[in-house]
Symmetry: C2
Subunit: 467 residues, 2 copies
Amino acid sequence: MTNNILKFLFLLTIIHFTTIVKAQIDSDQQDKDAQYIKQIHNNILTEGMCYDWLTELTTDVGARLAGSEGSVKGVQFMEDLMNTLGFDKVWKQECKVNYWDRGDIEEVYLTYPKIQKLNALSLGNMIGTNGQLLEADILEVTSLDEVETLGNELVKGKIVFYNRPMDPTQIRTFNAYGGAVDQRVYGASKAAEYGAVAVLVRSMTTRQDDIPHTGTSVYAEGIKQIPAISISTNDANLLSDLLKKEKVRVSIRNNAKPMGERVSHSVIGEIKGSEFPNEIILVGGHLDSWDVGAGAHDDGAGCVHSLQVIKTLLDMGYQPKHTIRCVMFQNEENGLAGGREYARISNENGEYHLAALESDSGGFVPRGFSFDGHAEVLKPFYRHVSQWLPLLESYGLQFSTGGSGADISPLKSQKGLLIGLRPDSQRYFDYHHTDIDRIEAVNKRELELGAAAMTSLIYLIDKYGLK
Amino acid sequence: MTNNILKFLFLLTIIHFTTIVKAQIDSDQQDKDAQYIKQIHNNILTEGMCYDWLTELTTDVGARLAGSEGSVKGVQFMEDLMNTLGFDKVWKQECKVNYWDRGDIEEVYLTYPKIQKLNALSLGNMIGTNGQLLEADILEVTSLDEVETLGNELVKGKIVFYNRPMDPTQIRTFNAYGGAVDQRVYGASKAAEYGAVAVLVRSMTTRQDDIPHTGTSVYAEGIKQIPAISISTNDANLLSDLLKKEKVRVSIRNNAKPMGERVSHSVIGEIKGSEFPNEIILVGGHLDSWDVGAGAHDDGAGCVHSLQVIKTLLDMGYQPKHTIRCVMFQNEENGLAGGREYARISNENGEYHLAALESDSGGFVPRGFSFDGHAEVLKPFYRHVSQWLPLLESYGLQFSTGGSGADISPLKSQKGLLIGLRPDSQRYFDYHHTDIDRIEAVNKRELELGAAAMTSLIYLIDKYGLK
């Protein structure tokens, strides 16, 4: 054999040997990580506190619309609770929210061809009728575009009734929501543009039931503000069926109104990182909720998920390398003031969020994570995912690209990784923004598994970084 | 170039070309199958009848313990319904079941150190106290082995209290059930062997609540028969806490009893296969339930899942190549008479079941299928799975080895493929064998997605076979 061939074989042997050793280390490390992740799950499934905290938050505090008395109680509750959990530091971060009040009158009646009370909820941020009766003929449409097409002549003086259902064939219900919610958010101004006196909106759910769903709505600048009210899907079907035969009239009486700016707060807890104190890993949800129900799935679940991540890591004696910050954002539902203010101050302070993980899709069984970010963070992340996926898929978890969370989205400019917990979505819109979003709608094990999934991912990101 | 090299290159080109053509066909076929499976989902999520059928079965008929009046109504309901669905043939198959009656007295009281009524349910197939008061000291154990270890001296005259909880750290709750249910099934005879006068069994659930869970229990031959009653997990914890401090006494009064053999029926519908009429693909669940609640998840869900498979395939104009048989088995809960008799008659008639798919794990969101069978059917099935998985995993479905279903397990000797639907298991044991297993516990979309998953798999098996 020539010298070159010998050299080549020697080199080959070294490379081979190195590969084996590396594979061995990787495999040992994988085993250790698998054990750690099992311990995380065991800890939460046997000693998890998230369900108890959520019970307290939803029953002792209840609804927490930003700026309301409930939200003040919520902030206090959260600060007190976080002060017991072993954070290095807990603080409130001020933000200015636009408070909206539903008022004490909220009535929608079908008045012709028969009289029947409808199940209705005024939409967030919208004005009401000042307690006066407003009666008009109904005009059913299935899109904003249809209002334009019908034009002034047909729309003027009518109550426009947006009745395009969420598409039940979407397997992920958030996609169905995304495909229908423009009616609720922009429907009032579009109808007002053509002279409508009010709008009714079919509730955002695939269920057929009597439960109305509220939610945010916005007025376009320079357009007349008119009342906007959601009705239950059963009542929407009733109106639609009647309209196939004859004209239908409805009367509205409510006194909802925007109440102007108030001071509110996000609540933040922090554990300083031992190696990379200037690289922040954020985990959070939003503390505010709508003013009906108790914000159990939306988003009490995300708050207690995030607290459980911290409690479990500390219980297990885990020392984070990166700074871990737990943020209970204020005002996600009708303004995003907390999320915007958090990002503004963070940018002002020159901070860098390596990763931010939000839970704002309910306390259902976790199916995985969706992630988003700039190319420079995504490329190495894909490599990590190939290592981490085998550790997580035995818990039914997958990774997919997609949105992360509204509150953390203003952090995107810091070019870190943005992640959303993806719980199973089938039941989410049964409860979303309704009076029945209460603790009874939350299953303890499903909630706990969501917290365990989040804790596992935060552990992996903190341990391995994202480079 | 030599002739040989030319030949070689020519051959290479052919192989390559064939591979490309084959891949193209496969890819076209995959696209068509993906579209068909999407249509199946669309059909069921928009026009599915399974939830309506389950509502009728659980409210008009209600509980359906084999041999009870309810089960007679259930058989009639099912035969009538199946006669409307377009089967070539619907028939009842007789089986002999051992009917058990809960009786009209069922009381368990803590009598010392304080008096408190406990939430209790007599266990299936067990005798009661004949309406007489039976009072004794409690002896807590966590296993059948512990009864043996404690022996006659400590066990004699006592009420043995089996209190080993289901392991909450099992991610799949069926594994936790499997690890605890020996106490309920065999606990009475084991305790009687050492002179116990009765047994109490901690309910089979990971929840902490006041709801007792019944279930089957069996007496060993030649051992004295004693009463056996389940108590809620909250009450089990209460007894256990009290026992840490002092002796605890409990009184039992019930009049449950085995009532002897009765004639009952499974209900079967069949569509003859166009190409392989002698190869049967079975889809089924069990029609009987326990005598409390309404058997919504267990196993009304499995029955309506199976009917929906047939309805959807027929609605879509699908012509099955194999004979498709839909079987509503009788008496899964406390005897398996229907499943055994079905297999006996099938074997007697020289039938061959290519595949059998049972749904008996609830109407929750489907996570995939588990499968079982002899090596000669599993080997080609693995190859098919590699083709089918990409079609199903976008619906969150996976394949795993494991059990299939109790009713179809007697068919194993026919050497076909046995498959079980695997819905998410987190909430199953909240309802299993309880008074709250009613339609309110079932989510329409989750139920429908289970039916769509089953229809998709039956379609693939029928279209491609299992060779």
